[in-house]
């Protein structure tokens, strides 16, 4: 029989330390739904999603019950809608968002991602129309998430898109100002976007992916923190080893659920995303792990180093536990979704500049950061350009998900509720980058791109 200490440890992780499967995301290709008549295309989209994902929720619930492990989110990602929009003879492509929303409601998922465009080297047919329609699409739907990839290491940065996305983020917040600017929280601007990411709001089903696939995102900041708490007096190598061991266990569970879900749904298994994704629940915080390593508060000097260690150890521990690793894989630092980050930001210890430095070593980027509602759109574009440059040069995914809190300013709080959490409006450097942002053009790819 299995060691009883191990059994109790697993139960403890689930009961007291918020261990869960953060998301089971079904990726569905919509390439065969393309039609020049948008209404026909929307019908095909709805039919395909509801057919493929009809058992997603029941199967996940069955697995939850049998293994006793909560699966917090069940989601769907689809082919970037701009590829479908390219074929349509209309500019009103919000219909696609409405079709996705209807499908999401029918199958019961809590988010559907893929209202996306990939414009890292320029705009193709459909891309402009899609980006223009994002604010309306996110305002008239509840479950649809959008993302735009504006750069990559191989291509450099599309600065015309950077300019456009600054405006788009602001517009998304404005049109949903009556609902806590929620529109901006469902939009991610990427550099080096992965094609198999199961996490929202940035999930989409890349063109190189199979027809349908199951991707799983694991989580467990609480487990890592508790493990560290129980082990006083370790040197930093010991800390890294402990994180690795814990990440291994968490990921094995993700792999088990992924394999089981894929078998029961008769859909190929794609990847496990090795992530530490915090939630606003007390104890389920990445910031608290960094503090457990010995910082007075997240944001203090030493934060970037601790996060670098954490991010690396999570990957090293997880990679052996899963047959296919992908997605974003690493530690997330979404401010409004992490109780420790919220606290540090409220105290003014955690600033946007520090977060920017942290994104060079974490798995994604400036995530769920609430900024003053009157922040100029060019400043938002400037932040996107900085963040994308970090991703481009370091061959990693970076993203920007900023929420301009319309009508609010530094010192106020914006609350979304649920997993998206709440947070203080953070101070932004308002010096203008307008001339740079309005130059447009393509920022050339760095030398790192020339690997062949």
């Amino acid at each position: 029989m299995i060691n009883s200490g191990d059994i109790l440890e697993t139960i403890d992780m689930i009961q007291n330390e918020n261990l869960d499967i953060r998301t089971v995301t079904m990726g569905i290709s919509l390439l065969d739904c393309i039609d020049s008549d948008i209404d026909k295309a929307c019908d095909k989209v709805y039919d395909k999603i509801t057919k493929y994902a009809k058992d997603l929720i029941p199967v996940c619930e069955e697995i939850e019950k049998e293994y006793g492990i909560p699966i917090v989110n069940k989601r769907i990602s689809v082919t970037p809608v701009a590829m479908l929009a390219a074929a349509c003879q209309t500019s009103n492509i919000v219909k696609f968002a409405l079709a996705l929303e209807r499908a999401a409601n029918t199958v019961g998922v809590n988010f559907i991602g893929g209202y996306s465009a990939l414009v890292h080297k320029g705009f193709a047919a459909g891309d402009y129309a899609l980006i223009e329609s994002i604010p309306e699409a996110l305002s008239v739907t509840e479950h649809v998430c959008s993302s735009v990839n504006i750069g990559s290491t191989k291509t450099g940065l599309n600065m015309d898109a950077v300019l456009k996305m600054g405006k788009t983020i602001k517009k998304c917040a404005e049109v949903t100002a009556d609902r806590n600017c929620i529109g901006a929280a469902k939009l991610v601007v990427f550099c080096n976007a992965p094609e198999d990411n199961p996490f929202m709001a940035g999930a989409f089903h890349g063109a190189g992916e199979p027809d349908c696939v199951i991707n799983v995102g694991v989580s467990g900041p609480g487990v890592v923190r508790t493990a560290l708490q129980k082990s006083e007096g370790l040197d930093i190598t010991g800390v890294a080893d402990l994180v690795k061991r814990t990440a291994f266990k968490i990921t094995r569970m993700g792999q088990l659920v992924a394999t089981e879900a894929s078998k029961r749904l008769c859909v190929p298994f794609g990847i496990v995303d090795l992530s530490l994704a915090p939630t606003p629940a007390i104890g389920d915080s990445v910031a608290n792990i960094l503090e457990e390593m010995g910082l007075e508060s997240c944001g203090a000097a030493g934060t970037t180093a601790c996060l670098a260690l954490l991010n690396d150890a999570v990957k090293k521990g997880g990679v052996m536990a899963s047959s296919h690793v992908g997605g974003l894989s690493g530690a997330f630092i979404p401010v409004s979704e992490d109780a420790g980050m919220i606290k540090a930001a409220e105290k003014g210890i955690l600033t946007i500049e520090k977060l920017e430095a942290m994104t060079a070593v974490c798995s994604v980027g400036l995530d769920m950061i609430i900024i003053p509602g009157d922040t100029h759109e060019d400043v938002i574009s400037g932040i996107i350009a900085d963040e994308a440059a970090i991703g481009m040069v370091n061959f990693k995914t970076t993203a920007v998900r900023l929420i301009p809190a319309i009508g609010k300013t530094v010192g106020d709080t914006l609350s979304f509720g649920g997993l998206l959490g709440q947070g203080p409006v953070m101070k932004v450097n308002t010096a203008s980058p307008s001339k740079f942002i309005h130059r447009g053009g393509q920022l050339p790819a760095p030398m790192q791109a020339l690997k062949n």
Partner: protein, 89 residues
């Protein structure tokens, strides 16, 4: 298929009898039992064979949970594989 039943809570008379009573009602064979008292807390772990369980797994698990709620104990029924995958390479 084998499941692990864990019972954690304050020690009292008849825990084992009540839990194994449900197992017997549902035609679940108990293979192995270990129990210990950790810091005044009672911890029992049962390995059981649920291949011939007379009710669906979810119902069996719900019955155990209901018993746990009634006695003020935490009772979980989980597929053996979750422990195997987490703790064995």
């Amino acid at each position: 298929m084998r499941a692990v039943i864990t019972v954690i809570g304050k020690d009292m008379v008849g825990i084992l009898a009540k839990v194994s009573g449900i197992c017997s009602d549902c035609n679940v064979n108990v293979i192995e039992v270990t129990q210990s008292v950790l810091q005044d807390m009672f911890a029992m772990i049962m390995l059981s064979d649920i291949s011939d369980c007379s009710v669906p797994f979810a119902e069996f698990s719900d019955k155990m949970k209901a018993l746990g709620d009634e006695l003020g104990l935490s009772i979980h029924v989980m597929h053996e594989d979750i422990f195997n995958s987490m703790h064995r390479i």
